[in-house]
């Protein structure tokens, strides 16, 4: 049983991670589109795309 105690710190964070991951899924979907568009145009205008 002793080793189960070690798992405790993260066990309470399931719900928040599910919510955060849901929001991030949407946010990164749009962010990736913006980054792709920026990258596409940067080829024509010679500007370095800012991928972060």
């Amino acid at each position: 049983m002793q080793h189960l105690l070690y798992i405790d710190p993260g066990s309470g964070s399931y719900l928040i991670q599910a919510i955060v991951a849901g929001v991030l899924g949407v946010a990164f979907f749009f962010k990736n589109i913006v980054l792709m568009v920026r990258h596409f145009f940067s080829r024509f205008f010679g500007r370095k795309s800012k991928v972060d």
Partner: protein
Amino acid sequence: MATFQRHPSSYRDPSGFVFYKDNGLYRQVNKIYRDDFNALLESGLFDRLVKQEKLLHCELLRENLTGSPDWFCTLKPEPLRFVTYPHEWCFAMLKDAALLTLDIMEEARATGMILKDATPYNVQLHKGRMIFIDTLSFEKYDPSKPWIAYKQFCEAFLLPLALMHFSRLPLQPLLLSYPEGIPLALGRSWLPWKSKWQLNTYLHLHLNAVVTKEQQRSIGVERGAFSAKKLDNIVRSLKEAVTSYTYNGKDTWSGYYNEASQRDDYLAQKKEIVTRWLPSLPAICSAIDVGANEGLFSELLAQRNVPTIAADFDHFSISQLYEKTKRDRLPITPLLIDFSNPSPAIGVNNTERPSFLDRVHTDLVLALAVVHHLAIGKNIPFESIVQLFRKLGENLIVEFVPKNDEKIQYMLQQKKDIYTAYTEEAFRTAFSVHYRIVEEALIGQSGRTLFLMTPHEA
């Protein structure tokens, strides 16, 4: 069976433990961790991280040094020069430790593994860079589960960084009070309202604090499956948050050397005297620069390959020095230390993390233009200052600044002059109790004097 001594901080994880034996430091891997450890080696992750200088190199020994029936194998880690703790790090060191942890998490994910904990105590400064030291933090990844170390990362890394970023204040002492991480509910209340406008900060700190609090009230939340994509998004978002936080703490002492060097050729002469004295000392293998500022004299020692702890309470100076140390891979350990209150021992039985003074004993102590700050700035008697220096190391190069010096006169404009005992004679008397004065030299026309001292016992 030869005896071994378990490291006092190595008790949390049943996967193994760190121990001392015959003056060597080892890590035992227990049978319970066999599958994860084999996966770490067989996936090539261990070798890759060591090669990238992200993970401390360890030698694998097939010898049971403890005689424990739980033994699976033994590791002999590459020795660290000096162990430091997050409450002694500048912002950039904590930020680099956070980014390193996330980098390793990404690398681990790519090989089907994951980090099972995320604490700054898993990171140390080694050869000028932050490096991960806990070989047993890796485990095989189960895509149906969220990141077990998420909350720990938020409380121990993200929140302190966010607090310093938004407050523009050095808040390292908080990490001393909360070594496991600042509780989200508490830390969140200190964040300004505007921090909610940053999506990553809002999600991982504000929303996290609220949801965690609510969840504690309702036990038994239904759990659906998690996914690797969700986890990767969380790590990416944490990385964006950490990267966006900045703080260098530019304040009081910034530009001290620029200002100091304008005074006559004070710094050049001081450097010349120290350089002249160094060869006369017995082999110096380690040093500490007390009140190092931006580390001019620490660099002087580093250039001679002397590993040097550069300690100062000024955040900006230590930040600058850390960046230089990192860039040039200097053997310097830049640390935020207030010598009127050096880091105490903390943790279980107060033995888990030893005090700063218990960790440091060097061959040479440099105390340049610092005694008057302790004696007049902090009212500390010469007798206590000399005890401090003696605890820090053997030989001593110390500067005495007379009371009529313009800097002391400036300090005395803001406080009553109760320092009748602050004289060169009293200084000599106090220091002579522990040291023998070997050399002394006036620094140009400054009126200040440098002393080279060796301890009586030597």
